[in-house]
Symmetry: C2
Subunit: 767 residues, 2 copies
């Protein structure tokens, strides 16, 4: 499909969108998305309903391995980071918050489960039929679309449908005839559940169909509070709850029967239920709004976004939001499968960061105070060690306004931070400090380099400088003193040194734009620190001790305990994106470096090197190249800096073909909040941001036949190919508006423009 | 002292109040107050610093019996309801929130303790010297005045001084020379401490002298959150904290040394410390602001109320607030001791309810949302089963504007209540449901009867009706069906029936004023329900079962398990204040009733009847009359309804003389949030509100020689006596503005006026 047709289709679907049009055959953009991709194995995506960047992400939970493990870590927890695994045959309910693709589990707030028959409040065990409220289900009844999810709960003969607006989940349950129908609200369920994760739960039954409350948890997000307002389309006949606290709060002097029809519930571990009588095929709707501020905020969100009871209308409005976002990129592919892979990847780039403010602009800040987002929209869920690499650069092309809001959210986080630090990993008004570095700086530098932000340069510079000079942060004091992080003071020291040095370069770029010459010089100098961890004798980056000696017993292939986090010296040791030429020189020149890259892709990484590492699995590995994790995402493009750019073209096509697909296990590792998918989108379009913070994209080899990007500045980028075919992975020449370019990079000003970029492809490399 | 002199003195003290006036000899009103009264035995008052009705009540903690009792109830907890017992010789620190005189323990938020030498974070045990951070002290170094407390901490040679503004505690510690001085912030300390009482604690070290945070607890107040902002007058040299959680939160990947100089602390059980080097006699000030809203609110309160660092200025300003409030009543007494007893009682009537909003009018409501107090000032701590009897009626004379604000706070509570109930016991944005009935209604009816409130009558009526018709409340469904609470359905059934019936009468009075005839009739009828629990065969109120039969095995003297709460049939059975004549008739007429009253005061209540009851102690008993607890507070005045009013005069003087004094054990039982003291103030002035909700006061026998009340309407009530002497307890006649009155009650319109009421006293009763 060429872009004109795609544009036309969008217009058509917009016009013919009414539910009463049985003849509608035109495709919508959402038809190219399959949210099931990545739900098998380690993609850690979820199939449920959400809007683009929506605050509510309402999705089924098949997680059952993880209830009350006596506080001990259950290794299967990792498997359930998004609450759903395609292998499972049981559903425990539908909860409203999820991370997409992360390598650490959290959220799962407010599990709703409809049942019939004898009231069961215990979730039960999947392998013991009837042991709890869970239901069996079959994938044959399952439909997963953007903003829509449907499944038949076989144990109860209930059809469950889900949709969502930005801040409100909308459940629609079609019951059989029953005198004993229930909708459960399990406030104990958490993704990554353990004893004592809930710090407090508070519920008010405001009237016969409205319930409000909040839950506070601690864990990955240390002090997380989520407020809710819940509304049923039909008054419940009765309700109640049970507490599962070891020493439940008893404050009522035994004066009430708290457990039944008493409109207040409080404690740490509570499961509530609402009883109904239903006719056959009776639909009961549940609207469930979230807020970070208060129950009043949740009620506001509920009333503002979904005032009525028209499930189809909400679904269609939210699907139109998806159509609009997805239509920003229209592609023509060789196969339908590639199109589905592409659009699902694009979909996955819009599940995080998420909106994090109420309809009135109030949100909970990092200081736990309530703030008003003045002049921006507030976002959270910044998994920055992952997403600065390609996701935020992608936003600078297709979501620049939103990315600017995200940057302003980061600056607000800095202002609210007691450390005066930009986010490392922003997590629902918490800093969870996950992974290394402080890559907000890269995101900001990238937007400044690409001229997509209107933030004050001095404010950005100050925030960056504050961030990179906090002495107690993660080896930073030693880094500032010695020019490297010593392994004996702070683990994963080489990774830290490399990422710190890159971030220093980013600050230097901001300083340059702000005409802060001294800062520019200081941080340019700091950005050379990568050299301090290179051992020229062995030819690898290597952990150094505080006395200046290299760490002994060093194995450059091991991904564990060798100075690198989620990587080894072979891969992660190449992370000097800001000084690639210098690094290549340091490592012995282009040929030697090119051989090093070849080694990576051809020598099989032994099992022993990866078995201790959850984030690196065999599925995501080519030779020793680990695509399933981030530190190597730039590596295939590094051939561009050698004399063999054709190897980049070959490798990126190979990676796209083998590490991504439109099947349920179509992601070779955690999608990591969209970074893996963003890598794919860029690579499929033929270029990649090897160095965020610069205005350059390394040229690869496009997978698409053609693409059209509708840019927010009103311009249109057209990407075309000549001779596109699976075997024609090599780029013979690239023309920009008809003129051949004699370099292997594109500039942002060329991409973010009325440009036509044409890739001439061939089955033979241009050596 | 007559009122002119008192007025003059106030003027003089106002003028000469500068700290640099060494010749100042004139008394201030605060000089007549001794906050130590009631700190011995069961008065449960605290000696610390606060303003009238202030949000911060900063007081020493001698409580040491109660740390981590494995969740089990420690009977000594009751002793430490206010955190301080005069017997103790050790101080564990100074905390910012206290209840005055309650019979249940809670609060004790944010314990500050200055120490020197080796850092100790464990509080230790009082009987093991050096086992913790506590200090020994001697009462000889102690000074307790309104808004000022001073003590020498002998273990560290530190002088501790405390004062407070409305929302900010101000500590001033004079240290010896030390290289190792510490100020501890113990966030684990609670009055009524137990494992798991803290649900969450969050602390931010904002800079080298400012700390913010909050603590959430559950317990008597189910979901209580108190925010703080703390400022030191001198930057600390270093700081740190330790967590005492069983499974402490570990979220930082071991990346930080969280324990030292790391500016965030979070968990359930935390003790923080701040280190200083001090010169000899160096003073370090600590300002500690509270908020129910947020740390931003606490910072606002801090900056608004105490911007500078002048301890003496804050102390003097707050003491002037006390002088102003205390000067509303000037009395002349027979002895200085009586004056001290009187003014300390008056002081104790102004320690609750307390202000509960920030400087900008924001406060946390019962629904946990943040509200703005529009058109009123918000208050909390309504211990209404106690305080509706005499404390709020007293406010209707000397604090009507504040009482009106309290009523508006109660209505706001109703509006925020999921039950749509007026407060039973309002407790820091919580309803703790303590004790029986719903006596906000009495407070509102009383203010309406006395014309001291501007609330809308229909709003009050609706709130009242909502409150008394909640079917699941405490036996109310049966009460509505059967006309009494059946003992087999809901314990303490007779007390409940009597208090419900009285509250029904109060609603009827509101309905009458609102011209709601039907409601008036309905609730007048309900108010007769007291008759349904009177057993004419035995001549006592008696618990009845749901089948209409009397409960067997009934003992009218036992205070436990006989249908009465904190009382017995002999005493509590007389609680029909709204129909005293009818009750007397029902019980056999005036003579028989008078004999019943005589019995109460003369027959000794056997130990076995009171030993199970914390709230009834031998100290507070005359015969079988229990003055140390509320249900009998009207009893001495009931002789007025017989032919022997002189016995009322005799008894009230006896009670004032034996149950109150100016010594440390000068309260015969819990002051109960000011109710015991309010009884004293009324009785000392010669009259008492036997029936709140009416405009009548029963005449007793004044203890004062003379009194002048400066009323808020600009008028002045003068009370005079002729022949006042300890033995002249009998009233021969009472004149109102020179005219003898031929009744034994006064009207509010007579009291709240430019009146002169003269009591002619004699040693012989007027029979």
């Amino acid at each position: 499909m060429n872009s004109k047709i795609a544009g036309l289709l969008l217009t058509v679907t917009t016009i013919c969108f009414g539910q009463n049009n049985p003849n509608q055959t035109a495709h919508q953009m959402i038809d190219f998305v399959n949210p099931m991709i990545g739900t098998h194995k380690m993609g850690h995506t979820f199939p449920g309903a959400t809007t683009p960047f929506g605050m509510v992400q309402l999705s089924p939970e098949t997680n059952n391995v993880n209830m009350f493990a006596d506080g001990k870590y259950n290794p299967d927890t990792y498997k359930y980071c998004a609450g759903y695994q395609y292998d499972d045959t049981t559903i425990f309910g539908f909860s409203h918050t999820h991370f997409s693709g992360t390598g650490h589990a959290d959220l799962g707030d407010f599990l709703i489960m409809p049942t019939t028959g004898k009231l069961q409040l215990n979730p039960g065990k999947a392998n013991e039929p009837g042991s709890g409220y869970f239901s069996t289900f079959s994938h044959t009844t399952e439909v997963a679309k953007p903003a829509y999810y449907k499944v038949q709960l076989d144990s109860y003969n209930i059809k469950a449908e889900l949709t969502a607006s930005d801040r409100v989940g909308y459940h629609q349950y079609t019951f059989p005839k029953s005198d004993s129908a229930h909708i459960l609200l399990d406030l104990m369920y958490n993704i990554y559940n353990y004893d004592d994760k809930n710090t407090w739960v508070f519920v008010r039954v405001e009237n016969d169909s409205t319930v409000t409350g909040y839950r506070q948890t601690n864990g990955w997000g240390r002090t997380r509070t989520v407020y809710f307002a819940m509304q049923f389309s039909k008054p419940f006949a009765s309700y109640g709850h049970k507490k599962y606290d070891k020493t439940p709060y008893k404050g009522f002097y035994g004066r009430f029967n708290e457990e039944e029809n008493f409109p207040e519930m409080a404690g740490k571990n509570i499961r509530a239920y609402f009883n109904f009588k239903t006719d056959d095929n009776e639909k009961i709707g549940v609207k469930f709004a979230l807020s970070s501020v208060s129950t009043a905020g949740a009620l506001l969100n509920l009333k503002t976004e979904i005032p009525g009871w028209n499930f189809e209308k909400t679904k269609q409005e939210s699907q139109q939001k998806w159509n609009k976002e997805l239509a920003k990129v229209t592609v023509e592919t060789t196969t339908p499968a590639e199109k589905e892979t592409f659009y699902t990847a694009l979909y996955h780039t819009m599940l995080g960061p998420i909106l994090y403010e109420d309809a009135d602009g109030n949100y909970r800040g990092l200081d736990q105070n309530i703030h008003q987002s003045e002049g921006f929209t507030n976002y959270t869920v910044f998994s920055l060690w992952d997403t600065y690499r390609a996701l935020h650069p992608l936003f600078n092309i297709i979501q620049p306004k939103r990315n600017n809001d995200m940057i302003k959210s980061m600056l607000a986080h800095h202002d609210q931070s007691v450390h005066k630090m930009l986010p490392v990993w922003s997590h629902y008004a918490n800093e969870n400090w996950c992974m290394i570095g402080y890559h907000s700086i890269a995101v900001i530098a990238d937007a400044i380099a690409k001229n997509t932000t209107d933030i004050d340069l001095n404010r950005a510079l100050t925030a960056g400088k504050n961030t990179v000079t906090v002495p107690y942060f993660d080896g930073l004091d030693s880094y500032m003193q010695l020019g490297y992080v010593p392994e004996n003071k702070s683990g994963n020291s080489v990774s830290k040194t490399l990422e710190f040095a890159y971030d220093d370069w980013c600050i230097a770029q901001i300083a340059k734009k702000a005409n802060a010459t001294k800062d520019y010089e200081t941080f340019t100098k700091r950005s050379e620190n990568y050299k301090n961890v290179y051992d020229p004798f062995i030819g690898y980056m290597r952990p150094k001790l505080s006395d200046g000696k290299w760490r002994e017993n060093f194995d450059p292939l091991d991904t564990h305990g060798q100075g690198f986090i989620e990587g080894n010296a072979l891969n992660y040791g190449l992370y000097v994106p800001h000084k690639i030429d210098d690094m290549i020189e340091m490592m012995g020149g282009k040929n030697k470096f090119s051989n090093h890259l070849d080694q990576i892709f051809t020598i099989k990484l032994a099992d022993k090197y990866i078995e201790k590492n959850e984030d690196i699995t065999r599925d995501g590995i080519i030779g020793s190249y680990v695509h399933g994790n981030e530190p190597g995402h730039h590596i295939p493009y590094l051939y561009n800096w050698t004399n063999k750019p054709w190897k980049t073209q070959e490798r990126v096509r190979m990676i796209m073909n083998t590490m991504y697909s439109n099947s349920i296990d179509g992601l070779c590792g955690n999608d990591d909040a969209g970074q893996m998918s963003a890598w794919y989108i860029f690579s499929a379009l033929g270029f990649y941001p090897v160095l965020p913070g610069s205005d350059q994209y390394a040229i690869g080899s496009p997978m698409v036949k053609a693409a059209t990007l509708q840019l927010e500045n009103g311009k249109t980028l057209k990407i075309k190919t000549v001779n596109q075919a699976p075997e024609n992975v090599y780029v013979q020449k690239v023309t920009l508006n008809g003129n051949e370019i004699d370099r292997n990079y594109l500039l942002h000003s060329e991409v973010y423009n009325n440009s036509e970029i044409t890739f001439y492809l061939s089955s033979k490399p241009k050596r």
